[in-house]
């Protein structure tokens, strides 16, 4: 999934001097102070619970759970260079953005070129904090601002599944980003403004289906990464969560998923949403193209009906937001 927006943030932030980011600067410094105090990369609570890492290795159940979660997370779509018939999860897929081209890394368990040497803690830190084993920051083209809400146990099942795959030797290709977006350390500013690490907190007042749907949408499915409009600094606008944008990946129009009648999914039945997530077919027998097709093919379409229904339940219960996208 090419995701212009996701990379946008870093880039936009770096060039913020010109427009009204003045307020953001002092705020940024305050945050920076807080960060240096409490949250040096690699220490503090970032050092995730080192569960697992046992000699016996993960169980078959963990692996099969992980496989399912990988489908829900759409990892294969981004980490496979399908265009050039690359091996699954061996990376190399180009994600074109206005700031340059990202090439996804190899996440097969190859020790030399993949993540075969990673500990559980390192894997958790990558997914939940967006920090690499060497302490550097990942670009938000890797949707860790959503993945941070993945439960640690689920993340470890994902790792178990990835590590059960055949290792593929495939060198990572360096990103091809324009200066100054190529400077990773500058991501610290973007993170201060827009990255809110933390777990998913179920709402006990809601049904189990709602909570399951919320988890799938917010954390694993990272639907908001495409379906939420972003500020000029590239952060998601929380007030317009899932309300759609005309500036999606590669300029695609990404529809409003809130149940507003007229601009959103207000007229869609629950079964209509399930059908779309499974097959890409809309209630009017039109079908989706582009990024959403990849999301569905990349795993969403394989999820159990009960999970797709849970997603529909959650989407239907969102506050309707009147927000027109498209023509």
């Amino acid at each position: 999934m090419p995701r212009a927006d996701a990379a946008g943030p870093a880039g936009a932030l770096l060039s913020r001097g010109r427009r009204g980011a003045r307020g953001a600067v002092p705020a940024g410094f305050l945050f920076l102070f807080w960060l240096l105090l409490l949250w040096p990369p690699g220490t503090g609570w970032a050092a995730a619970p080192a569960a697992g890492d046992t000699a016996s290795g993960p169980s078959a159940i963990a692996i099969s759970r992980g496989r399912y979660l990988v489908e829900a997370g759409g990892c294969a779509a981004c980490h496979t260079d399908a265009k050039d018939h690359g091996q699954p999860f061996a990376g190399g897929r180009a994600l074109k953005t206005p700031f340059g081209t990202f090439y996804t890394p190899n996440i097969t368990p190859d020790r030399a070129t993949g993540i075969g040497g990673w500990s559980d803690a390192q894997f958790l830190r990558a997914l939940k904090q967006g920090i690499a084993p060497d302490g550097s920051y990942y670009y938000p083209a890797f949707p860790y601002p959503s993945f941070t809400r993945i439960r640690a146990a689920d993340a470890l099942d994902i790792k178990a599944y990835l590590f059960s795959l055949p290792p593929v030797r495939h060198e990572n290709r360096p990103h091809d980003l324009r200066f100054p977006f190529s400077l990773r350390p500058l991501l610290v500013f973007w993170r201060l403004l827009y990255f809110h690490p933390g777990d998913f907190h179920p709402d006990p007042a809601r049904s189990a289906a709602w909570n399951r749907g919320a988890y799938l949408v917010i954390a694993l499915g990272h639907c908001g990464e495409c379906h939420t409009p972003r500020t000029f600094l590239g952060g998601m606008k929380p007030a317009l969560f899932l309300a759609g944008t005309n500036k999606g990946p590669e300029g695609e129009i990404v529809p409003n998923l809130t149940p507003d009648r007229g601009t959103g999914l207000g007229d869609w039945g629950q079964d209509d949403i399930v059908t779309l997530l499974k097959t890409g077919m809309k209630p009017d027998f039109d079908n989706v193209q582009g990024a959403m097709t990849e999301v569905i093919r990349g795993g969403l379409g394989q999820l159990d009906d009960s999970d797709l229904a849970a997603i529909a339940t959650y989407l239907h219960a969102l506050p309707p937001i009147r927000h027109k996208v498209g023509h």
């Binding site: 590669e250 300029g251 009017d284 027998f285």
Partner: protein
Amino acid sequence: MRMTYLVAGAGMLILVGGVAASVTTARADDAQAVVTKRQDLMKTNGKSLQAILKVVKGQAAYGPDTVKAAETVLSNSKEIPSLFPKDSITPKSRAKPEIWTHWDVFKQKDSNLQIQAAKLVEVAKAGDVKAIGAQLQVVGKACGACHETFRQPEKKQ
């Protein structure tokens, strides 16, 4: 005198330019006309299938309209290739240029729709709602298969 020639010359140029421009806009208008026509036809396809879906879901009664809707899709499907004259792409169109570089494949996707739509007409006439529902899915896939290859994702102009 020279000045007059110059002015006259410039006037001619403007005139010629204007004519040329109006020729190209006329062509663009033609292209847009065919684009609008096929988009309308496609929308009618969608509406017809939607009407049949209502019957399958029990939200509408089975009747002669069900057959008519299927017949509309069938007759429309035969018109599709003629609505895609070479390189008829306008800013409002989501057609991909690959349609004309892979015309055989495009035609084949359309023949597949014709075959499946003909079957839909048959089951619609027979009136078994379950069979109609099953064939409806097949037809929907035949529509989608062409869009997947030959239609762009929607972008903001």
